[in-house]
Amino acid sequence: MNNIDPSAPDMDYTTQHDRELSVEEVAAIEGYSEDYSLYFIGSASIPPSSPGSQAESAVNQFHETPALEITKTNSQLQDKRTSVKPVPGRPIPIKTIKRRVSGRYSNCPRPWKLELRVDVDGYKPAKMFSGDFFHSSGSTQSHFGSFRVDAPSISVSNSQLTIIGIAECTWNTSYKKVRVVIPIHNIYQPSANANVTWYTLTNKKGAEYVCLFESSYFRTIQLEQDREEDVAAFTSYDTGSLPSGGTSRTLSVSKAYGEAGIQIQSAGTANVIPTSEANANHKWNNAELHDAMETHFSLWKNDPHWKVWLMHANAHEYGTGLLGIMYDQKDKQRQGCASFYQTINNKSAANLRTQLYVNVHELGHCFNLYHSFHKQYMNPPVPNRPGSLSWMNYPANYNNGSESGAGAYWSSFPFKFDSMEIIHLRHAFRNNIVMGGNPFGQGAASDGHATFMENIIDDSGLRLSVSTPVYVPLGTPININLALENISENSKQVFMDLNPSSGLTQITLQKPNGKIITYHPPIRQCINPDLINLESGQSINESAYIGFDAQEKQLFDMPGTYQLIATYYTPGGDAIRSELSQIRVNAPIDQDSEDLAELLLGDDQGMLFFLGGSYSDSLRKGNDAFQEILSRFPENPLTAQVALVEGLKASRDFLKLDDRNNSYLVKMDESKSVKLLSSLIINPDGKFGLTPQNVHNAKRCLAGMKYGNEINIKPIKKKVIAKA
């Protein structure tokens, strides 16, 4: 490793090998097999009388849960401490409880400290890993950067776990491939170390780290709690006291976070704050709360740190309707919050439940979590999840499409964060989550990167499919087909709109250079999406152009393999993910194809493909490029996309503004439109990038002109297709 890039090798670093080995070669040498797969075992799997009884007592506690179970025959069993007697002639499967590997690891800083978070087993494993680098200098240590590997390949042998993936890093480096190897120990052995090695995408070896197991929690936060005089602060609630959607258990605030993998430690001095510090009417305002935080939060400092202050107060000046607030939204934000007991003070079950909910919820804001119904206002935005049964939803705002309101929420609420929030809590880049880091709402979700992983559990009864071109030349405008199918026996209520422009479907892609991008359409449609009942076996389909992004501009602008995942959000808040699709963009093979690619990859051209053509003067460069393509490359299959856009453009009137903002009409050019669109209908399969819907649109447009109807391109997306 070196001093400017913790993932790069030291300048003096030499390996013991005489040549560089790829990760795959290393794997082959070390004889990894994939005979066993990772899965979590519940307490029911552990015989109470077995040697693992000690583990059994702790099995429901996040930090002590053994999680790997490997079944072997007795002839394979090496552990002599197991008391099972073999039956002659007939191997009996013996279960060996393996120690869970998920959790936090760190190395001895020289000079780089790596904090690694491995998340492959245990509760709701995200099947990913992440980490932070800190730079040590003398007695000081500063945060250098964060990384996250969203979709690693995971292989498990009976002796070790190997995880390999491409990291998204907050620093610039060519060493983006990370391999983590963790020996698998049984529960009688101490936790194993994690061996971390960085590589370039061409498998040149970079820095290596040996990280010791630190905790089964992914992060540890210090919580200081103070209370206003005469307020009895919340301690715990039995979730079985009232009907709910989860297992019955006693939850405190720290246990609720512990279930998400976040350790909350009590810290600082517990103060009793006099009510006189509030204003004259004994009700707090946000300025007074902030002042109280600076005065009484003994661990407070105006810097990012894993410390947070919770004040149990009586009333806020906003009135009885405000049960809690995260008021710390200036300077280094999100370090303090308060809950108000004025209306929930007595110890009835309903009040204790509300107290637990309010305290966990407000601290969730300190972790930079937005309300489930405000996610679209985050930076960057993600779709709202009003049907989320999460600490971060409002009971009254709960709406999963079929039931809504506080009653429905509480009767189904499992006292958990939702999956996307859990990923944020465990794996968000440090500044997006640490108290005192980014302002509230900035980086509050993982910008959809979390979608770049497979669903762990999907009981939605819906299947989302994405069809993409497999091999295309550089410059091809990329259109995809999306299909949402009801694969359950029952009718499902879904949003009609699958187009990414509506925000209900999110496209995440990984470019050949490893960069992960969430697609932001250049124009976002603000819609109130229609709901329909999708019967069993029915599907809805839609195609969309995704080649041009509002922020990144041209997305498919380099040769190589692109990976793509679509995520569709149901009215109930489920995130339905597609399978991973791959698109191979081939490099130009001659000067003509290079020229054509260059003509297609301009920003104006991308916008014209998105709009389906435009006469706007601001897109003149794109229109000029299209004319050149039509004249220079009329027979090239890629020209079909240009012909489609130009043909559609010519098929309709266009209202333009002149320099004096006076409008005038550019009349449709029927003969040009017919000529261009007709060329697409003949042998459309040979034309790169054209989807069946593209061809359908061309046909529909031609039919409209022929019969003199109003010419408009009406997409077929609203059609519900019965399963054949």
Partner: protein, 98 residues
């Protein structure tokens, strides 16, 4: 009797004119605070048996009017929807924020 008006989501440095019967109010720089989902809460004295409550956001070209006949405390929420509409609800139950 009182009317509580809570301006919720979608406000971003907006100026809002409120008219309740003959009284007129102006609120400037309303922005939604996403820690509680509120941009501003106001309380109106419902002396009138029946009157119109009018909201106007001239900069966004939005307005809405509802007729209210309060016989007990009422809670009104006002949201600007993502497709730029003013959405108003009335309830006799106090809404909880946090």
């Amino acid at each position: 009797m009182r009317i509580f008006v809570n301006f919720e989501a979608g406000f971003d440095q907006d100026t809002v004119f409120v008219q309740w019967a003959a009284k007129k109010y102006i609120f400037t720089s309303l922005s939604t605070d996403f820690s509680d989902g509120l941009a501003r809460s106001i309380e109106l004295d419902a002396q009138h048996r029946k009157a119109r409550l009018i909201f106007n956001l001239p900069e966004k070209g939005l307005s809405d009017a509802i007729e209210i006949e309060p016989d007990k405390d009422l809670f009104v929420t006002v949201n600007i929807t993502p497709d730029n509409h003013l959405e108003t609800t009335i309830s006799s139950d106090e809404k909880i924020y946090l």
